[in-house]
Symmetry: C2
Subunit: 219 residues, 2 copies
């Protein structure tokens, strides 16, 4: 529970066999689906085993404990999660950079909603597993990028707004479409009538851009 441990394997462990590589991946994929749908406590090893197409004892051959699977799934998506913010470039045009960031985050919500929901669930319940990650690498990254944004503001290239809260706003609005997908679809009137309603995220992008860039007050 202390070290970074990218996965179950300590630094001195043996290298993985071909079969291990394959089956670990299968398990993690199945576990992502199950954990994101039911949460940690709400998921059972049997569910994961069935989805992975193997017996429960075999699951536990690759991961000693349920928690190890959960942690491995979470850690597997952390890097993906940070990547878009990492790309924010101090030398680029502020408006273009932020627009691009919003677009990348929306793409994540569209392409990896399960991962987003798993992440949300973990934080919602106090981040018992990735708390250290939040206070460490995440905070560092945000601090760095906040400086970039602050630079743009001080150069008069962006309106005055707290950079960290701005990042929160972007996280919140983009992940909303993955995390609250059911509500979004319910309110938009998902799949009524003949027309198979378009992806909610199409309408989302235009609205986010308008509001984030120009606000609601008419010029």
């Amino acid at each position: 529970m202390t070290g970074p441990l990218p996965d179950g394997r300590k630094s001195g462990g043996k290298p993985r066999t071909r079969i291990q590589e394959i089956n670990r991946k299968i398990i993690l994929d199945a576990a992502l689906d199950v954990f994101s749908a039911y949460g940690f406590r709400g998921s059972t090893l049997d569910q994961i085993a069935e989805k992975a197409g193997m017996s429960k004892p075999n699951l536990l051959y690759y991961f000693r404990r349920k928690q190890d699977i959960y942690r491995a799934v979470l850690e597997a998506i952390l890097e993906t999660w940070l990547a878009p913010l990492e790309e924010l470039d101090a030398d680029g045009d502020p408006i273009a950079e932020i627009s691009k960031y919003i677009r990348l985050k929306l793409d994540l919500s569209r392409d990896m909603p399960e991962a987003s929901r798993l992440f949300a669930n973990e934080i919602l319940h106090g981040a018992p597993v990735i708390g250290e990650f939040l206070r460490g690498p995440l905070k560092d990254l945000v601090d760095r990028k906040a400086c970039v944004i602050r630079g743009w503001i001080e150069a008069g290239r962006l309106n005055h707004a707290d950079p960290v809260h701005l990042i929160f706003m972007i996280w919140a609005t983009t992940q909303h479409y993955a995390d609250f997908d059911v509500q979004v679809r319910a309110v938009l009137g998902d799949g009524e009538d003949p027309a198979p309603s378009a992806d909610p995220l199409d309408g989302a992008e235009a609205t986010l851009m308008t509001v984030f860039l120009d606000g609601l007050r008419p010029r």
Copy 2:
């Protein structure tokens, strides 16, 4: 022994006694804390019973099933949740009305974070209990208020933006501070050094107002 079932009482049920009134409230309060912290499946009747200061069989005297408690807690907060949007007044000034709505939603995040998290958790997992509510009363309310906003836009009093997605944006950004509280505090560097860091929501309000009303692009 077919008890009077103090709980699921349809319209024809007996009125509640004084003790029932009191104990149901105690149970619902305790259950809100527990369910919001651990989710439905992650919470146990023993936890709720202990927090409520009574025995587990006594819990089940007031609520026949665990699910009944969960549902009752959820239903108890639904009305509170809709209230702020209900107040959006077509005859008011658009900017003032929306500012007020954002402020009210932030107040909810500040004052009832557990309720917000319970709600978020329910939706995150597909809204198995309140799905009907989302597709019914919630959609109706949003549709009504979207018309109000659309009216303001067509009158040139607001920038062009999809009203429903705008509402999503306000929900997302305001509830973020309750639902993702741990992350917010982690990134802001909660409680470091002597200064007991201020409530994150203070900084949030100013930023939300700036971005929602004026956007990021300098005028």
